[in-house]
């Protein structure tokens, strides 16, 4: 081979139509055969949507290489197809003046390359996290973006007449340190999207975060973390901690044993003017502490109190804006290609080689 002509030969091969057909056919055949194993091995393939592809391949893909080899090969073939498409597009650009009527078709090529590039970037440096529980007023650190936090300002699950949830309205604030970056109402099909970060309302739950009491002389009162009860002598009782299921360890320490109200307890602090604060724990299954009765406060526990908790999905895909640009390019390409097709058909043009 002439050493001067080999780059040109390689370039022609990379741009070649036949290479595109071979790669597309091989990927299709391989994908058809390999993908049939997906529904039968949920333990391997079931987590593919929960992780970016790069992370999935480096964990499940390598652990189960015998079952996932076809996927590795498909990815390699698609990358080659992307390279082939990119070269084909560049080749077309070089002869644009003569081949401008093919703009629609080549915009589809460019769109595909952009979508593929975006997906590749997102697969390698993206992050996906499901089941992030957040109660109103709480702040959550976003693991994939150090220094960024999410605060749930308000949350309301919307139910229909039969009690089925039809929407989940979250008012979220994205913060960098203490500075709010974005505020948005996040609900079904309306995520918070910010620089590749996507926050979605996935589900909701109810959490037992307090207890309802009859307070003598004051009526019914819901006590949660931070609740305050005024005392007749000018002081107050502050609820420092509510545990739905308090468990006493061997060393005497009290810890949370679960979310179900099996053995609910309150950590109370009595604050009186001129006295040191007094802290004690009130197990609701037992009698009321004498410290309260001494100060004229009678609490009768009635029922656990539940508050809704939003369950959010937090995904980071830095390639998503590129992929979306690719989708827009492809859409333009399709429209132009169809217009050009009818124009050419009306003129009697046909692609006969």
């Amino acid at each position: 081979m002439n050493t001067r002509s080999w780059p040109r030969t390689w370039w022609k091969w990379l741009c070649s139509l036949k290479l595109a057909i071979v790669l597309a056919s091989l990927t299709t055949l391989l994908g058809i055969g390999g993908s049939l194993s997906i529904p039968f091995y949920p333990r391997i393939f079931g987590s593919m949507d929960s992780l970016p592809l790069g992370r999935w391949l480096s964990t499940f893909g390598t652990q189960h290489a015998g079952m996932t080899w076809w996927l590795w090969l498909c990815c390699a073939l698609i990358l080659m197809l992307g390279l082939n498409t990119a070269c084909c597009f560049i080749d077309w650009l070089q002869t644009l003046r003569a081949r401008w009527r093919k703009t629609g078709e080549y915009l589809i090529h460019l769109g595909f390359v952009l979508v593929l590039s975006g997906y590749l970037w997102g697969s390698l440096s993206g992050f996906r996290s499901e089941g992030n529980r957040l109660a109103v007023g709480q702040t959550l650190a976003i693991a994939a973006m150090p220094g960024h936090y999410l605060r749930l300002e308000s949350f309301e699950p919307i139910m229909n007449e039969s009690g089925r949830p039809i929407d989940l309205r979250n008012h979220l604030t994205l913060l960098k340190g203490e500075t709010p970056l974005v505020r948005k109402e996040v609900r079904t099909n309306h995520p918070l999207i910010w620089r590749g970060l996507t926050i979605l309302a996935a589900s909701f739950d109810r959490v037992n975060d307090g207890f309802l009491f009859d307070v003598a002389g004051q009526g019914r009162m819901e006590l949660r973390n931070g609740s305050r009860i005024p005392l007749p002598d000018g002081g107050q009782v502050i609820i420092r901690e509510y545990l739905p299921h308090a468990v006493r360890l061997d060393n005497g320490r009290i810890v949370a044993g679960g979310d179900t109200p099996v053995n609910p307890s309150l950590l109370c602090e009595i604050v009186l003017p001129g006295h040191a604060p007094l802290e004690y724990r009130y197990f609701l299954r037992g009698p009321a502490p004498r410290q309260l009765a001494q100060r004229g406060l009678q609490l009768i526990p009635r029922a656990p109190v539940y508050s809704p908790v939003s369950i959010l999905t937090i995904n980071l895909d830095p390639g998503a804006p590129i992929a979306m640009a690719g989708a827009a390019t492809m859409t333009m390409g399709v429209v132009l290609a169809m217009l050009s097709f009818y124009y050419k058909r009306n003129r009697g043009d046909r692609p006969v080689l």
Partner: protein
């Protein structure tokens, strides 16, 4: 479904059935009156079908294409629309018989199933879903037409009968079906991807349905290129069209009915 919608659907089915019978008569007798009557019946049937679709859409408050009945119903409507497109543009007459028979099969199967629209799950309540399914089934319908024309091409190549259009026209129709099907399916994938992104936070799902849809797109994308290769023109293209529709059918019915996916058909 209301009595009116049910009546419209049965009337459309009767029109299509009669039309297919007249096309069959036309194939043997070759008199213009038969294809004209058959074509008129397809037009009436399609009008009733469209009215029924509009009524169901209005009553449900969303385009009802969410279960097996409604997808069969909508696919059948897309097939009739595709047939009319080719009939009006190229006067293919009985060459579209396969499409009409497939249409009857789908609609006949739909008639035996529960037609009541189900409550829409919140994630489906978006115009992106509507665009996704409309372009999806229109793409499928063009691929079905390509299958039909591919089959006729192979028959014509063997029989050289004046009953069928000439090979050049059949090849042109096949290429047009594939090209338009690919364009519409590309739009289906784009709208589906954007919808998935706002609904689940990623635009490509590794669920088997998503993967096979991408494979369909890739396969027909390859076919759009193959028409420029002399070896694949004509017979090869016809065979590919038929193989491609096999993938489409498996993606639509096989995966939806036999395997667990995020696009269940029940």
């Amino acid at each position: 479904m209301t009595d009116l919608a049910s009546l419209l659907l049965k009337s459309a089915f009767a029109c299509y059935l009669l039309s297919a019978s007249l096309y069959l008569v036309h194939v043997t007798v070759r008199r213009p009156v038969f294809w004209r009557a058959a074509f008129g019946l397809v037009l009436i049937g399609f009008g009733l079908h469209t009215f029924c679709l509009g009524l169901r859409w209005y009553l449900a408050g969303y385009l009802p294409v969410t279960n097996l009945f409604s997808t069969l119903f909508f696919f059948s409507w897309a097939l009739a629309a595709t047939y009319l497109y080719f009939e009006l543009r190229y006067r293919i007459h009985a060459s579209g018989l396969f499409i009409m028979l497939l249409n009857l099969l789908l609609l006949g199967t739909a008639l035996t199933r529960d037609a009541a629209p189900r409550p829409l799950i919140p994630a489906l309540d978006t115009p992106l879903f509507t665009l996704h399914i409309v372009f999806s089934f229109l793409g499928y319908a063009f691929f079905a037409m390509a299958f039909s024309i591919g089959l006729l091409y192979l028959l014509q190549k063997r029989l050289y009968t004046p009953l069928l259009p000439d090979l050049i026209l059949l090849r042109q129709l096949n290429e047009e079906s594939i090209f338009l099907g690919f364009c519409l399916f590309t739009l289906c994938m784009i709208f589906g991807g954007i919808w998935a992104y706002i609904a689940w936070g990623y635009y490509f799902s590794w669920n088997i349905k998503g993967l096979w849809s991408f494979l369909i797109w890739l396969f027909y994308g390859g076919m759009c290129h193959a028409k420029f290769v002399r070896r694949w023109q004509g017979t090869g293209y016809a065979l590919l069209s038929m193989a491609g529709f096999g993938i489409v059918l498996f993606t639509y019915l096989g995966i939806g009915l036999l395997l667990s996916s995020n696009h269940p058909l029940d």
